[in-house]
C-alpha cells in the first residue's frame, strides 16, 4: 500500500472517495416474520418476469429500462419451511422489525447523525430479478454526522451522508442464457447502509473508514457475522475523471487496491480520450466512424477452429480509423474489455475485435476474410459478436454508445468489483427516478423520548469495553474476543446482575460455541435462563463444571429451577463416604498442613465425577468437617 501511495500523489490527482457500507443485521427480517437464516436445501422453484414502471415523476429509470431490455426470466428457489408468500411477492409486507429499527437508531446516534422525524418506506426499482417485487424496500433514517478515523498524521473526520435501513436482495445462484436463478433465503434480511460524503482522499483512509464503520455497527451487538454479511461500495473520482461506483467489495483490505486500480483506469481513459481527439477532432466524426452497416459474417466461420463460434451466427461491425484503439490499455485490461462489458450488459456473452486477432482459434485467413466483407482498410478496426441478429444489434448499439462516450473521458457508471480488485461495467448510475413510496407499510414516526432513551443507553465504545473488562479480571484473550462480540452487551448486563465475569465470558464465548458445534439448538436457550444459571453459579448453588450440561438440559426445555432443585435431592450421606476416602488417602498431608489441606484436597474432590452435581459450598463444608475430625484424632 505504502509503495503505491508514494508512486501516486493522490492529492495532486484530486482523488475523492465516498464509501457505502452495507451491514446485515442479526434480527428478524425487516418486513417478514420468517427466520433470517440461509439454507441451500431448496424444495420449490417458481418462474417470474419483471417489467419497468414509471416513477411518480412520470419517468422511467435508465437502469430499469436497460435491465428490462435483456428480457430475462427469473427462477426463485427456497425452502418452504423458511420462505413465506411475502418473499414470493404474493402477500403484502408485515410491520417493520422493531429490533432492526432500534439498531439503526443506535448506529445513527453513535455517528452523531440526525434522525428524521418521519421515516417513509420507499420502493427502489430493481429489475435485475434480485427482488421478486421488482423493488427493494428502503427507508431513509438519518442524515449527516461523522466518523472519526486516525490516520498516521492526525485524526480526520469523514462526514456521514445518510444512514438507511433496507432489505437485502435474493441470493444469486447461477446464470444461464436468458435465465437467472436466485435463492430467496437472503431476501428481506435487514441491511444498514451507511454512506459517507466523498471526504476520503487516499486508499489508506478508505480502509480506515470502512474499518471504523464496521466497528460502530458491531458495537450494537446486532450484526450478522461471516462472509457476505458486510459489503462495501466505493464511489471514486479524480480530477478530469468522473464518479464511478464500484460495488460489492467484500474484503476490507481489498478496498485500497480497488481504489488504486480505479484511479489507474480513469487516468488511462483520460489519456485515451486525448488520443481519440487527435484522430477525431469533432465528436460527430467519431460518431460517424462507428455508424457502419452491421453485417452477417457467419459464412466465414463455418469451418473455424474456434469452437465457441463454430455453427453459430456471427455479426460484424466496422469501426473506421480505430485500428489499435481497442487494444489500448485501460486499467488492468484493454479498451476492448470495457466495450465487451457494455455488450455483455445488453445480453451477449462478449465480443471479439481486430486488435486481438488472430487468436482463440480464429485464423489469419478468417480475419482477412472478415476484413474484406466488412470493407475494412488498414487503419480500420472491427468488432465481432457471436449471437442472433436481434441481440447483436442491441449489443452493437451499446458498443457504439460506449465508444462515443470515450470522447469525453471517464463515464459515470456502476461497476462490479472482481476478485482481483479490478472492476467491470454493470449498469449506468441509478437516478432518483428509481424511488417511489411503499404504500403497503405505514410511515414510522420517531418519538423524541424514544430517541433520547436510545441515546442514554448506547453501547460502550471499544476503549470503554477494554477498560471495563480488564477491571473485571478477564484474560487478554477474552477481552479481545468479547469487545466486538454480539454477546458483549449481554455479558455486561449479566456481570452487572452479579454473575462471575470469567465464568460468564467462558460460557458465552466458549461453551455456547461448543454446544453449537455439537448440534445443540442454542436458539432454544433463552437469555433469561442463561442469566438464572450464571447467577446460581455465582451464588455457589451450582458448580461451574455443570454449566455446559445444564445448558443442554435447558435447550431441551428444562428450567433452571428444576435443574437446581434436582441437585439438592442428592443425599449428603452418599457424598460423605466418597470424601472420606479422599481424606483417608491424605492423612499425612492433613497432619502436616492442618486446615491448609482444604485447598489441595478440594481440588481432588472436585475431580470426582460422581460429585459433579453437588454445589461447591456443600462439598467444601463436608470436607472441612471431615478434615477437622481427622485432626482431632
Amino acid at each position: 500500500m505504502k509503495k503505491t501511495e508514494e508512486k501516486m500523489d493522490y492529492s495532486k490527482l484530486g482523488l475523492k472517495c465516498g464509501l457505502e457500507v452495507h451491514q446485515q443485521l442479526d434480527t428478524d427480517k425487516l418486513f417478514i416474520r420468517t427466520p433470517s437464516t440461509l439454507t441451500d436445501e431448496i424444495n420449490f422453484t417458481i418462474e417470474r418476469k419483471l417489467r419497468p414502471v414509471a416513477s411518480e415523476m412520470g419517468e422511467y429509470d435508465k437502469t430499469a429500462l436497460e435491465e428490462f431490455k435483456r428480457g430475462e426470466t427469473f427462477f426463485y428457489s427456497g425452502n418452504s419451511a423458511n420462505i413465506s408468500l411475502v418473499e414470493l411477492d404474493e402477500e403484502p409486507p408485515q410491520p417493520l422489525d422493531r429490533e432492526a429499527l432500534k439498531t439503526i437508531l443506535e448506529v445513527s446516534a453513535l455517528c452523531n447523525s440526525t434522525t428524521v422525524s418521519t421515516i417513509i418506506p420507499m420502493r427502489k426499482t430493481i429489475l435485475d430479478g434480485s427482488n421478486t417485487s421488482a423493488f427493494q424496500r428502503t427507508c431513509l433514517v438519518s442524515i449527516g454526522g461523522e466518523i472519526k478515523i486516525n490516520t498516521q498524521k492526525n485524526e480526520k473526520k469523514i462526514r456521514v451522508q445518510t444512514i438507511v435501513l433496507e432489505e437485502d436482495s435474493a441470493r444469486p445462484i447461477k446464470k444461464e442464457e436468458g435465465k437467472i436463478f436466485y435463492n430467496l433465503d437472503r431476501l428481506g434480511i435487514p441491511l444498514i447502509e451507511l454512506a459517507t460524503e466523498p471526504d476520503i482522499t487516499t486508499p489508506q483512509e478508505a480502509i480506515l473508514t470502512a474499518k471504523k464503520i464496521g466497528e460502530i455497527m458491531r458495537l450494537t451487538c446486532k450484526t450478522k457475522r461471516g462472509k457476505g454479511t458486510i459489503r462495501q461500495d466505493i464511489n471514486i473520482s479524480i480530477n478530469e475523471g468522473a464518479r464511478c461506483e464500484i460495488k460489492g467489495c467484500q474484503e476490507l483490505e481489498m478496498i485500497g487496491t480497488v481504489i488504486e486500480k480505479e484511479v489507474e483506469r480513469q487516468l488511462d481513459l483520460i489519456k485515451l480520450a486525448k488520443e481519440i481527439k487527435t484522430k477525431f477532432v469533432e465528436k460527430e466524426e467519431l460518431k460517424k466512424a462507428t455508424n457502419n452497416e452491421i453485417k452477417n459474417v457467419t459464412k466465414i466461420f463455418q469451418n473455424t477452429e474456434a469452437k465457441f463460434i463454430k455453427g453459430k451466427e456471427v455479426y460484424g461491425l466496422k469501426l473506421s480509423k480505430m485500428k489499435g484503439l481497442l487494444g489500448q490499455k485501460v486499467g488492468a485490461k484493454r479498451f476492448g474489455s470495457e466495450l465487451s462489458a457494455y455488450a455483455k450488459a445488453s445480453g451477449v456473452s462478449g465480443i471479439l475485435h481486430k486488435d486481438e486477432l488472430p487468436n482463440y482459434g480464429i485464423s489469419e485467413k478468417e480475419v482477412k476474410e472478415t476484413t474484406n466483407i466488412l470493407e475494412c482498410k488498414e487503419e480500420d478496426n472491427f468488432v465481432l459478436i457471436v449471437t442472433n441478429e436481434e441481440k447483436a444489434k442491441k449489443a452493437f448499439d451499446a458498443i457504439k454508445n460506449r465508444i462515443i462516450l470515450a470522447y469525453d473521458g471517464v463515464v459515470k457508471e456502476t461497476r462490479g468489483a472482481l476478485e482481483d480488485a479490478s472492476s467491470e461495467y454493470q449498469r449506468p448510475i441509478s437516478g432518483e427516478t428509481r424511488m417511489y413510496p411503499e404504500t403497503d407499510i405505514p410511515y414510522e414516526k420517531i418519538d423524541e423520548k424514544y430517541l433520547e432513551q436510545i441515546k442514554q443507553n448506547l453501547p460502550k465504545s471499544v476503549k470503554e469495553r477494554e477498560e471495563l473488562y480488564k477491571k473485571l479480571g478477564l484474560s487478554t484473550n477474552h477481552i479481545e474476543e468479547m469487545k466486538l462480540n454480539n454477546y458483549a452487551r449481554f455479558f455486561e448486563e449479566l456481570v452487572k446482575k452479579g454473575t462471575n465475569p470469567t465464568v460468564t465470558a467462558t460460557t458465552l464465548l466458549q461453551t455456547l460455541t461448543e454446544l453449537k458445534r455439537e448440534n445443540i439448538d442454542i436458539e432454544k436457550i433463552q437469555k433469561k435462563e442463561i442469566e438464572k444459571l450464571l447467577i446460581a453459579e455465582a451464588k455457589n448453588k451450582i458448580n461451574k463444571s455443570l454449566i455446559k450440561k445444564s445448558l443442554i438440559e435447558i435447550s431441551t426445555g428444562k428450567s433452571v429451577e428444576k435443574i437446581l432443585s434436582s441437585q439438592k435431592t442428592i443425599n449428603t450421606k452418599e457424598i460423605e463416604p466418597i470424601i472420606e476416602k479422599i481424606v483417608s488417602k491424605n492423612e499425612t498431608l492433613i497432619k502436616t498442613r492442618g486446615l491448609g489441606a482444604i485447598g489441595p484436597l478440594m481440588s481432588d474432590v472436585l475431580k470426582e465425577k460422581t460429585l459433579n452435581t453437588i454445589d461447591k459450598k456443600t462439598l467444601s463444608e463436608i470436607l472441612t468437617k471431615q478434615i477437622k475430625e481427622k485432626m482431632k484424632k
Binding site: G58, E59, G431, Y436
Partner: protein
C-alpha cells in the same frame, strides 16, 4: 404550530422545491403531502418527514414541479390487426397512484395503457372506454347494469372482443352478472384483474392483459370469461367460466380458481399458445340472437348457516319483505332444525311470505342434495330450492337477475336449471385435485 399554519406562515405549498437547515444539516427537496411533519421528496429520491420546530432558514428554490402522469408513447394502428376494446371499471389493473395526492387515478386512456404495456399493440389495435373508477368492494347492481349497457354498445360497434379491467374482490360477482345479462353473447368478453398493483415491476396486470388480448384476438370464443394467472409462476393464464369462478386467496396472483369446473383454456404469454381444456366448439357457438336482459331485484340476500345462527336472523328477511334468499348451508345443504322444528318453521314462514329460498353449500366444492338425510327432506318439502353445484355468490346474482326479468314461478323453475354454465349435469372427478 400545526402543518397548515406552518405552510401558510412560510408561504409554502406542495410541489415546491425548498431548502432549509435541520439540526446542522442542509436539506433540499420537494414538498409532498403530509399531516403533521413536513414531508419532502429529497434529491436522493427518498421521502422523509421533518419536525416543524427544528426547521430553520427556509428558502424556496423553485415552484411546482410537474408530478404525476407518465410520459406516453404514440403508437399507430396496424390495419392487419383486430380491434380489441378495453373497458375500465376500476381496480388496480389499469390504475396508478398519484403521488401528489396519494389517490389512485385511472390509466384508461389508450395511450396510457399502451405506454404501460406496449406489447399489446403487437397483438391488436387497442381502443379504450372509461366506465367507472370504482373500488371493487363498492360494486352494486347499478354498476352491473352500466357495464352491460356499455358492453352491448361496443358489441354493436363490431369490435373483435372486449376486455374489462375490474378490481378482483368482486370480479366474480360482476362476471357472473354480465354473463346472465348477455344472452347469446356474440364476441369474447374477458374480465381481467390484477392482484399486485400495476405500479410495481412484478405486477401480474401486464401478463393477464397480454394473455386476454391474445385470447380475444385469436379465438372465435363467444361469451364471457375471466382471465387470470393460473399459478404463482408467470407461465400461463387460465380462461375461466365466470359463473364458476371464486377468489380463493386474499393476495396470491393465482387467487381465482374454477369451482366444480376446469379452466376453459390456458394461454401462454411467451409462446402465444392457447391450450383448450374444455371442448373448444362448445364455446364458439350461440343458440340464438343476442339479447340484453339487464334487470335485477335488489331485495335478495345471502346468509351462512352456522351453530350460532338464530331464527331471528331468518325472520329479518321476512320482516324486510325480501323476495329472494340464498342459504349457504352446511354440508349437503343443511340448516339447523332445532326443537319442534322451530328453525324449519321460520324458513317456511319466510317462503310463505313470498320469498324464493335457494340452498347452496359452504363446502364450496361439491353439490347440495335434498334427499340424503331426513332433515334435508324437511327443508325441500317446505319449498327450499336446491341449487346443485352452483357457487353461493353465483346463486345470489342469478336469483336477483331471475326475479328482475322473470315471474316468481319462472324464477323457482330456472334457479336450479343451468343457463350460463353455472350448473353442471354431473360432478367431474378432476375438479377437486390439489
Amino acid at each position: 404550530m400545526d402543518l397548515k399554519e406552518f405552510l401558510k406562515t412560510n408561504k409554502l405549498k406542495e410541489g415546491q422545491t425548498i431548502t432549509f437547515d435541520y439540526c446542522g444539516n442542509s436539506i433540499e427537496g420537494i414538498i409532498i403531502p403530509s399531516k403533521t411533519d413536513l414531508n419532502l421528496k429529497l434529491n436522493s429520491g427518498y421521502n422523509a418527514g421533518f419536525k416543524l420546530n427544528k426547521i430553520k432558514n427556509i428558502k424556496i428554490m423553485s415552484e411546482n414541479k410537474n408530478v404525476g402522469k407518465a410520459k406516453t408513447i404514440q403508437i399507430t394502428k396496424n390495419p392487419k390487426l383486430p380491434t380489441v376494446t378495453i373497458l375500465h371499471t376500476g381496480g388496480t389493473i389499469a390504475s396508478r397512484i398519484d403521488y401528489t395526492t396519494g389517490g389512485v387515478y385511472a390509466n384508461f386512456d389508450t395511450q396510457d395503457i399502451l405506454t404501460m404495456f406496449p406489447e399489446l399493440a403487437k397483438i391488436a389495435n387497442i381502443e379504450s372506454v372509461f366506465v367507472s373508477n370504482m373500488m371493487s368492494e363498492d360494486m352494486s347492481i347499478d354498476d352491473f347494469k352500466k357495464i352491460a349497457i356499455v358492453v352491448s354498445e361496443q358489441i354493436k360497434k363490431e369490435t373483435k372482443g372486449i376486455i374489462i379491467g375490474h378490481g378482483t374482490d368482486t370480479l366474480g360477482y360482476s362476471a357472473a352478472a354480465l354473463s346472465f345479462q348477455l344472452e347469446n353473447c356474440p364476441i369474447p368478453i374477458l374480465f381481467v384483474g390484477s392482484q399486485r398493483s400495476s405500479d410495481r415491476g412484478s405486477s401480474d396486470a401486464g401478463m393477464n392483459l397480454i394473455c386476454a388480448t391474445e385470447f380475444v384476438s385469436k379465438t372465435n370464443f363467444k361469451g364471457i370469461a375471466v382471465c387470470m394467472h393460473n399459478s404463482t409462476n408467470d407461465d400461463d393464464c387460465a380462461i375461466l367460466i365466470p359463473t364458476k369462478v371464486k377468489k380463493m386467496h386474499t393476495s396470491r396472483r393465482d387467487a381465482f380458481k374454477p369451482i366444480n369446473e376446469t379452466p376453459i383454456a390456458l394461454v401462454n404469454p411467451k409462446t402465444k399458445e392457447i391450450k383448450w381444456i374444455k371442448e373448444k366448439k362448445e364455446f364458439e357457438k350461440t343458440s340464438g340472437e343476442f339479447k340484453l336482459l339487464n334487470k335485477f331485484e335488489k331485495k335478495v340476500g345471502l346468509i351462512k348457516m352456522h351453530p350460532l345462527i338464530t331464527e331471528k336472523e331468518i325472520e329479518f328477511y321476512k320482516k324486510e319483505k325480501y323476495l329472494g334468499l340464498i342459504i349457504e348451508g352446511t354440508g349437503l345443504g343443511h340448516t339447523p332444525i332445532r326443537e319442534n322444528d322451530s328453525f324449519i318453521k321460520t324458513i317456511k314462514e319466510l317462503i310463505d311470505s313470498g320469498c324464493v329460498v335457494g340452498m347452496t353449500s359452504q363446502c364450496i366444492n361439491g353439490r347440495v342434495h335434498p334427499n340424503v338425510y331426513t332433515n334435508l327432506r324437511k327443508l325441500s318439502s317446505i319449498g327450499v330450492i336446491y341449487c346443485e353445484d352452483m357457487l353461493s355468490e353465483t346463486a345470489l346474482i342469478k336469483l336477483s337477475w331471475l326475479l328482475g326479468n322473470y315471474s316468481k314461478n319462472e324464477t323457482k323453475e330456472m334457479l336450479s336449471k343451468n343457463l350460463r354454465g353455472e350448473i353442471t349435469n354431473f360432478t367431474k372427478i378432476n375438479t377437486f385435485e390439489y
